[in-house]
């Protein structure tokens, strides 16, 4: 699905990502973990076209995508959520989700002004679908709410609903459980599992180890911008380098 080879990104003298290679298979949940500052979000921003790589290549379904801007990547079926919420507070919850369906709608200004034939129906259908997506992610009671009136946990899910409205093939979730309590984290976990079952390839950056270990098929571990390990949760759990990175280098028998 997504193949990253020898990817590097440096900001001035800081090497945020250094020679990282991995391949994400189609379907399932693929997690990227690592200590703070390991370069996880930078990796996400590279994949989603917010940053241009210094070196290396990224290919989506066999097509080279490095350096392509994020709005074009969206049309190739790549969608994402953000670590620090990027919800449009000037819109309602439903409208936020409808923004996710932008590429499927007639977005001409003139057509919008004169309410061109067909636009009304497609917009209505889009609004219904957005409401269904909000229900799907567990935000049913916020369907009629303004985004600015919603609590943090619901906004996190609103972002997922918006990303789904695009009908993505590859969905990147940047710390979906950050800042959530146990119950909410558990709900997000169930949601991610359902997403993966529906055929979307989910890429996950997350700090919650229990969450990552329980739902991921494969895990990539980054440390200081380099690839430390890659494998199934069981392989990662016993990997000495990973344990060293997380718990300190002088690890004994743990």
């Amino acid at each position: 699905m997504l193949k990253v080879s020898h990817l590097s990104k440096s900001f001035g003298g800081v090497h945020a990502i250094e020679d990282v290679s991995f391949e994400i298979p189609r379907g399932g949940v693929y997690a990227v973990i690592g200590p703070n500052g390991a370069g996880k979000t930078t990796l996400f921003n590279l994949i989603t076209g917010l940053y241009v790589p210094s070196a290396g290549s990224i290919s989506l379904a066999g097509e080279e995508i490095s350096g392509i801007s994020s709005n074009i990547l969206a049309s190739r079926g790549l969608s994402r959520t953000f670590q620090n919420l990027q919800v449009c507070m000037n819109l309602s919850a439903v409208e936020n989700v409808m923004v996710g369906a932008h590429l499927n709608l007639n977005s001409s200004l003139l057509a919008g002004m004169i309410r061109a034939p067909g636009l009304r129906q497609s917009d209505r259908a889009c609004r219904m679908k957005a409401a269904e997506l909000l229900t799907f992610v567990g935000c049913k009671k916020f369907v009629a709410a303004d985004a600015s009136a919603m609590p943090y946990g619901a906004l996190k899910r609103l972002e997922i609903a918006r990303a789904l409205a695009m009908e993505p093939k590859l969905l990147l979730l940047d710390e979906p459980a950050a800042g959530l309590n146990h119950t909410e984290t558990h709900e997000i976990e169930e949601l991610i599992v359902r997403l993966a079952k529906s055929g979307i390839t989910v890429v996950l950056v997350e700090h919650d180890m229990r969450l990552v270990m329980s739902i991921s098929e494969r895990i990539l571990v980054l440390d200081h911008g380099k690839r430390l390990a890659e494998g199934t949760p069981d392989e990662i759990r016993i990997n000495r380098d990973v344990i060293a990175a997380y718990l300190g280098s002088e690890v004994g028998e743990t």
């Binding site: 709005n71 977005s107 309410r115």
Partner: protein, 322 residues
């Protein structure tokens, strides 16, 4: 999953019919209560300002792109029509279209350069643009008559030559209603949501596939051309224009209407235009103190209704969300 084709109540956007009906009725009966041409003239100026404020609000309130040079495009339309009809003897209708296209092309060329700026920098860039247009109009005396202004011939449309305040009133009243409908349609369309999304979060808008640069350019061109059309028509109505129509104070006046009336609100722009056009007339009896009264009213409004009059009041009356 929904079963029928109709939207559940909570989802249906609020009906726009009552507001539109109300404003149409007001505009229809207003002339009956206006005793003479002076009052009609005030009403016409309010309608002109309201239309301009709505187009500016699309840019500032909805898309979040501050423009301090909107009057420049009004001036382009006004002087474009004036020069083309008087110096070249071009049909007023054609002159209006040519001026609007010229303003749109200028906006499109400039957009690539200045719309990459944000916030204060964008405000400065549009301010500069407005001032340049204003200076050109003031200094090109041979074409524009310079600071003394120039007279503008009558408008002709499908063989009809509107004359007198009463006929022009109906033109601008109709234009106002049409503009309200077009703006409301746009706001509640995919394009309108894209504009608001790039205001809310540009990075999220791009991740959702919205070409933000293109949308900024398009809405800038749209509001510039629309302003030019209004400029053309008001020049024909006024019969005589001076560079003041394109000047910075006029731009600030329009921005103030948007901010006081309400950002990202079509009705807010209309209300702001009514208030800011009427206040100076009402306060005229204060003799010398009217500017101070005017300022105090604006400051107090912004302190107590910071989001603008219409959105702040609407927020008070809306039921609390659960």
């Amino acid at each position: 999953m929904s079963t029928s084709g109709s939207l559940p109540d909570v989802l249906a956007p609020r009906s726009r019919a009552p507001g539109l009906l109300a404003v149409t009725v007001v505009l229809m009966v207003l002339p009956v209560f206006l005793p003479n041409a002076f009052y009609l003239d005030v009403a016409i100026r309010i309608a002109i300002n309201a239309v301009l404020a709505i187009t500016l609000n699309l840019l500032i309130g909805y898309t979040g792109q501050i423009s301090l040079g909107h009057a420049g495009f009004v001036g382009l339309g006004a002087y474009g029509s004036a020069i083309l009809t008087s110096r070249w003897d071009i049909h007023p209708g054609l002159a209006l279209v040519v001026s609007a296209i010229a303003a749109g092309v200028l906006a499109w060329v400039i957009a690539g350069l200045i719309l990459r700026f944000k916030g204060h920098y964008l405000a400065m860039a549009t301010l500069g643009l407005g001032i340049i247009i204003s200076i050109v109009i003031t200094n090109e005396t041979v074409w524009t008559g310079g600071p003394d202004g120039m007279s503008v011939g009558d408008f002709v449309m499908f063989g009809w030559q509107p004359s007198g305040e009463r006929q022009w009133y109906w033109i601008f009243a109709a234009l106002l209603v049409v503009t309200i409908v077009l703006a409301q349609n746009l706001v509640d369309s995919p394009a309108g949501r894209a504009l608001q999304a790039l205001h809310g979060s540009e990075v999220a808008a791009r991740a959702m596939g919205i070409d933000t640069a293109s949308f900024k350019t398009r809405v800038f061109v749209l509001s510039a051309s629309y302003a030019a059309i209004i400029g053309s028509l008001s020049a024909h109505y006024l019969g005589f224009i001076t560079p003041g129509i394109a000047a910075f104070p006029h731009s600030v006046e329009l921005v103030t209407m948007v901010v006081v009336g309400g950002m990202a609100s079509v009705w807010g722009a209309v209300f702001g235009a009514v208030l800011l056009s009427l206040l100076p007339q009402v306060l005229a009896s204060f003799e010398g103190w009217e500017t101070i009264a005017f300022g105090v009213i604006l400051v107090v409004t912004m302190i107590f209704l910071p989001r603008g009059i219409v959105p702040s009041l609407a927020g008070l009356f809306r039921r609390p969300e659960g």
